[in-house]
């Protein structure tokens, strides 16, 4: 199995997607976890998305290079899944559910607030780069509908006021 290290082989820090030692370590751990390097493709993509917020063409190329998977395959896999993002995102990502339960419980009011208060429509980013907003299909917490995920934090039973209050915490 090929080890990834900063010193050997191609210097990984060259390109714009500078890789931190931390992410490299995690990638190495990932590769050790699976027999086949292809198996670590999805977790590796998640890792990159967590680190950079989205998957740039360069990131896809890099993942392919590190795992020894053709970059076209990486692109094909990553574009198949809706939760991989392929354009730059704001500092914080709001993923608001608009599926049946949340719709019944009034998620439309929440999307209106995002529009009026932050000028934020679905699949858009605020001008200051603070928030991006993605409309989600069911996030699996119908019991606390309407619900959303901001970055990796889950919020439920949302009202107009609580939404604003929560978002104020994310700068």
């Amino acid at each position: 199995m090929r080890e990834i290290s900063i010193t050997g082989g191609e210097p990984l820090t060259r390109k714009k997607t500078a890789l931190s030692n931390k992410i490299l370590r995690e990638l190495n751990d990932l590769k050790r976890k699976y027999d086949n390097e292809r198996f670590s493709l999805l977790p590796a993509l998640y890792l990159f998305q967590r680190e950079y917020g989205w998957l740039s063409a360069e990131a896809l190329e890099k993942v392919g290079e590190i795992l020894g998977v053709p970059k076209t395959t990486v692109k094909s896999v990553s574009t198949f899944y809706a939760m991989f993002r392929h354009k730059p995102m704001g500092r914080h990502l709001i993923q608001l559910c608009t599926n049946v339960s949340c719709m019944i419980m009034g998620c439309e009011r929440l999307t209106d607030i995002l529009k009026t208060r932050y000028g934020l429509g679905p699949n858009a980013t605020t001008h200051d780069g603070r928030f991006s907003f993605l409309v989600m299909e069911c996030i699996g917490v119908c019991d606390i509908a309407p619900a959303m995920v901001v970055d990796t934090d889950l919020y439920g039973n949302l009202t107009e006021d609580s939404l604003i209050g929560i978002l104020e915490r994310y700068e």
Binding site: E10, P11, A57, L60, P70, T72, T73, K75, T79, F80
Partner: protein, 880 residues
Amino acid sequence: MITITIDGKKISFERPVTILDAARAAGIHIPTLCHHDILKPYGGCRLCLVEVEKVPKLQTACSQYVSDGMVVRTETEKVVDARRAVLEFLLINHPLDCPHCDKAGECELQDLAAKYGPAMGRFAEGKRRYPENLEDPLIVRNRERCILCLRCVRMCDDVQGASALSVTGRGSKSYIEPFSGGAYDCEYCGNCLAVCPVGAITSRTHRHGFRPWLMEKEVETVCSYCGVGCSLVLQVRNNSVVRSVPRSGLGLNRGLLCSKGRFGYDCLNYGDRLDAPLMRRNGVLERVTWTEAINCIADRMKEIKRENGSDAIAGIVSGRCTNEDAYVFQKFFRGAIGTNNIDSVAGMAYGPAQRFFEKILVQGVTANPIQGISDSDGIFVIGGDPTAINPVLGLQVRSASKKGVPVIVVGHPGGLKRYSKRAFIMNSAAETVFLAALVDEIKRRRPLPGERPVLEEIINGFRPAPLEDASKMSGFGPNDLVDTAHALSNMSRPSIIIGRDIVQTDTGHMNLLFLAALTYLLNGRIYLLSELPNEQGVLDMGCQPDMLPSGRPLTVETFRKRCEETLGIIIPPAPGLSYAEMTEAAHEGRIKALYVMGEDMVLGLPDSNYVRGALRNIEFLVVQDRFFTETAKYADVVLPALSWAEKEGSYTNLERRIQLTRKAVEGESIEEWKVISEISKTFGLHMGYRSAADIFSEIARVSQIYRELTLEGIADGKSVWPYRGGPLRYDMHTEGTKLPDIVSVMEESGMSGVHVRREAHLFHSQNASRYSPALLSITPEPHLKIGDILADRLSVKDGDRVKVSTDAGSIVLSARRDPCLPDNVVLASTFDGGGIFEITKWRVNPITKAPASDVNGVVIDKEEAITVLHKDRADSLVGG
């Protein structure tokens, strides 16, 4: 035994086959879209659905295997209904723009819709709209027409192994694209457009210019770019080749082609072809008639022969000449001029390497079928990237690698990067030391077979360098060496693939000996990469200074006498000069007249300045070529030549397959052999050939290895020599060969600093591709590949201009960063005259007589503002 019933017909099979194959065997046609003979079963399009008794659902014939007692029906109402439905679904999105689709007339969807389907879908909603993508210079993608059968993706991944195409997105919104989404970054084999059943991927070279029903003829012939000799079909209209395509059942390439074979045919239609002889009068080349040109050649050559003797005249043949042209050429030189000064481009590396291996190992050790590579249990590649030099042979290496066969590369892995276990890149002196260390390590692991005492004596007597020294010099750890030797020792029938760069270097003769030892110890078979279509052929024809047709040494009197009797000529007994020696002799003024057939010496030989000097010193230079080449600029008479598609003839490929090249179009010139026999007539040697077939029958009479063959008889592409088991060549004794003292190599090499090596380019083939606009559109200029460490040190980005200098001068090239390269080796492509041959020093290996193609101790600078100030100069250097 499996017996099944298809549409009432009973048919039996030894092994399970797919229902589709079974139906074909029974003569029943089942329509398919995603299925392709080259590709694995996929079952994606659902068009091949058939009814199988006792199975409730319809089954896909392409992926379902037969079992005993199966009853299959292929054209029931249910089946036809399902097919119609599938086609209607496809027509939901497939536009009906057939009138201006390049695929019309040979579109599989069109044919199927005509047979089964509705003319259009019932879907009221609009069709999916995407603009046609014209970003790529050669390949047009139309996503609207795509039916997502994935033939192209599977071809690219599974067969070509380039993985340049993939599906983006999901479901009905998915589409096929290269990684960039626009232009391709791939090998341009074009196999994706060949398998596309609709007009989604089409070629730009004949865009809106190809209509299958308007083609006047199709001519089966052999590609003229490299030594593999792929079969292809030239489609002709108005005396011009409109397209070249492979056929899945035809030739050794089995439906595959590379970039050169698929797109490079356009050099046939290149505008600046020579169409009349030129003769130098008062220093200027003027158009003259054939009679004037031929008389001039005859008069001047006779004059030089009279004054300076026959050996002041020499001839050089290109590896692109047909067997017939090459044969007549050597016959003219031996019989009419009376000299053995004949050599070819193959004399630089391919010839010496082959001769050496066959001499020291065994006859025929370099003659192996290409298909055998994928059956070997290990592959060792050295001296060149097979996927660039002989791409279709390279695919065999990839296919072996996919099966788990270990591939070890010494040199830049190029297209084998993802397919090789290890790749070792170093300078040429280090390679020799590395090889020596490998031989020594393998010797300890594998017993000597006891077959060739001479070679065993050499191997036993050889003193290797200490492992530590070898590892220090090559830049790889001792463990790397030991591991590689271990991996090689585990192979029982490896393929050893050898490119010419291992020969064309100062230590080339040692490399050959080490490789022979390696092959012997490992029981390997050798594949010599050949960059030209007929290197083997010109050797076979006797275009060698010391060999007669059929590879028999001319110094052996019985062979010479037999040849003289058969041909009715007198052959001088002393060997002539080799290609490199001729160039040296010309430089020193000993060669007064030179006849160059099809070769561009200035661009083809290392150290262009030296070659230019040599050409200037020649009193009378004749160049016979399709184009006005760099060499032709120095000529006294320039004769136009015919391309391979404009005449009949034969090529012998690197596996010794003798193949027929057919005439597809009329050229504006006369066959080379006709011109030479006209000149020969003035010397009193009447050849009297009426056709290429006449010449071939004479070849078959004089040459043991072509005996009993006829030009018509080789048309099936199955004539491979050596055949019928008889000895074909004189078994040569191995004398005076000894393994070098490797310590002295290390001391004398003096290789420090940056080492430039030649890179054989995938999209270019020596100088012929200079005249193909399509190939030039992919890579318009030569470049220099620089490793990341060196590039960072020079702060060079992709596309920056760098100046490469040696004592001999400097050239400016466009830089490409390459993460594989170490900091002391850079690669330069040599096509189009801008390559390293401008700055290589003339060094000829005294044993192999091969001129060295690498250069050591170069200085690389980034060209900053100077490029703008001296732009003209830079351009002239880059442009040659």
